[in-house]
Symmetry: C2
Subunit: 187 residues, 2 copies
């Protein structure tokens, strides 16, 4: 009889420990989503408010550069805005994972959405990075000149806004892995 009771005690301790671990994963997930939100919204705002007017101009031309002069930078702003909106909404599900125990279906839904957002964010950040690289270095084979030689502060801001987005990409990858680990701990 005694060994039976000991066994039951053992299993219930195990379940408690496992429940505690799942809750910690859920809390960490909640925090990472908030950090990723601030990174993506910051990137979208920084890029979306980037424009520069050069101090010299001619009778006909005024030298200006705005982020939406380049489609890849516009795509970057849209992608970061969409992902930051998603991250705020996903906090509700992340909160459910903290308070509730049976979270298998919402976790699979969250992994599906996180992977889709990872694709969108990586796509936005990478295409913008390709254009920012070109703006800095130009390309003499195609005669595309490095505009950053004239528009210095424009280029600093568009480069700076990439950093937040790439940090959010790393955080999204971590979130997907946390969800996978939480899913596998389900039994």
């Amino acid at each position: 009889m005694k060994s039976g009771q000991a066994e039951i005690m053992e299993t219930s301790k195990g379940i408690q420990k496992s429940g505690l671990m799942s809750r910690r994963i859920a809390i960490l997930e909640f925090i990472l989503r908030i950090v990723a939100f601030f990174n993506t919204i910051g990137s979208a705002i920084l890029m979306g408010t980037t424009h520069e007017t050069l101090p010299f101009f001619t009778q006909f031309i005024r030298f200006q550069a705005e982020y939406n002069d380049l489609p890849a930078l516009t795509f970057f702003v849209v992608a970061n805005a969409v992902v930051s909106g998603y991250l705020i909404l996903s906090l509700t599900l992340a909160f459910v994972h903290i308070v509730k125990r049976k979270t298998q279906n919402t976790r699979i839904l969250l992994i599906i959405l996180d992977v889709a957002m990872l694709g969108l964010l990586t796509s936005g950040a990478s295409s913008a990075a390709a254009i920012v690289y070109l703006a800095h270095n130009g390309n003499n084979k195609t005669n595309w000149f490095a505009i950053c030689q004239q528009f210095n502060s424009f280029c600093e801001r568009i480069s700076g806004s990439l950093i937040g987005s790439f940090i959010a990409i790393v955080l999204l990858i971590l979130l997907i892995l946390l969800s996978a680990i939480a899913l596998s701990r389900r039994h």
Copy 2:
């Protein structure tokens, strides 16, 4: 006694059905990896063998265009080559998931690697897409001319090679979701 036996029969039928479902997921996964492999290796080869020499030339200049004239296209070739190598190697783990039942740890490992490869492939394809878009349309705000007006077949091939890579991105997203579903069915 009878109801006990019926119950045992019921549970063992359940386990059998669940095992069958898991095996089907594993086989589907194996096939998707092979399809994704051919898409990425095809994209890498198509892009990597792209070059065009225009029929006219001057005393000093011969008009040529090669994929490695543009760093984003070189990154595309490297990313697709790395991911196709990974996909071949991952077939071994995918095969283990077909034959073995206890696959939790290898599934988590595969999700981690798949997510990383998704990031790399999306990054390669998106930065190349930004440059291909620029090559086709140019940008009059930055005076970057559309080189596709001269290098027609070069542009057709670099655009065509993007398709295989984006198909492989969709397949990788499916693979991650299949792994998540398989992980959640573990109990």
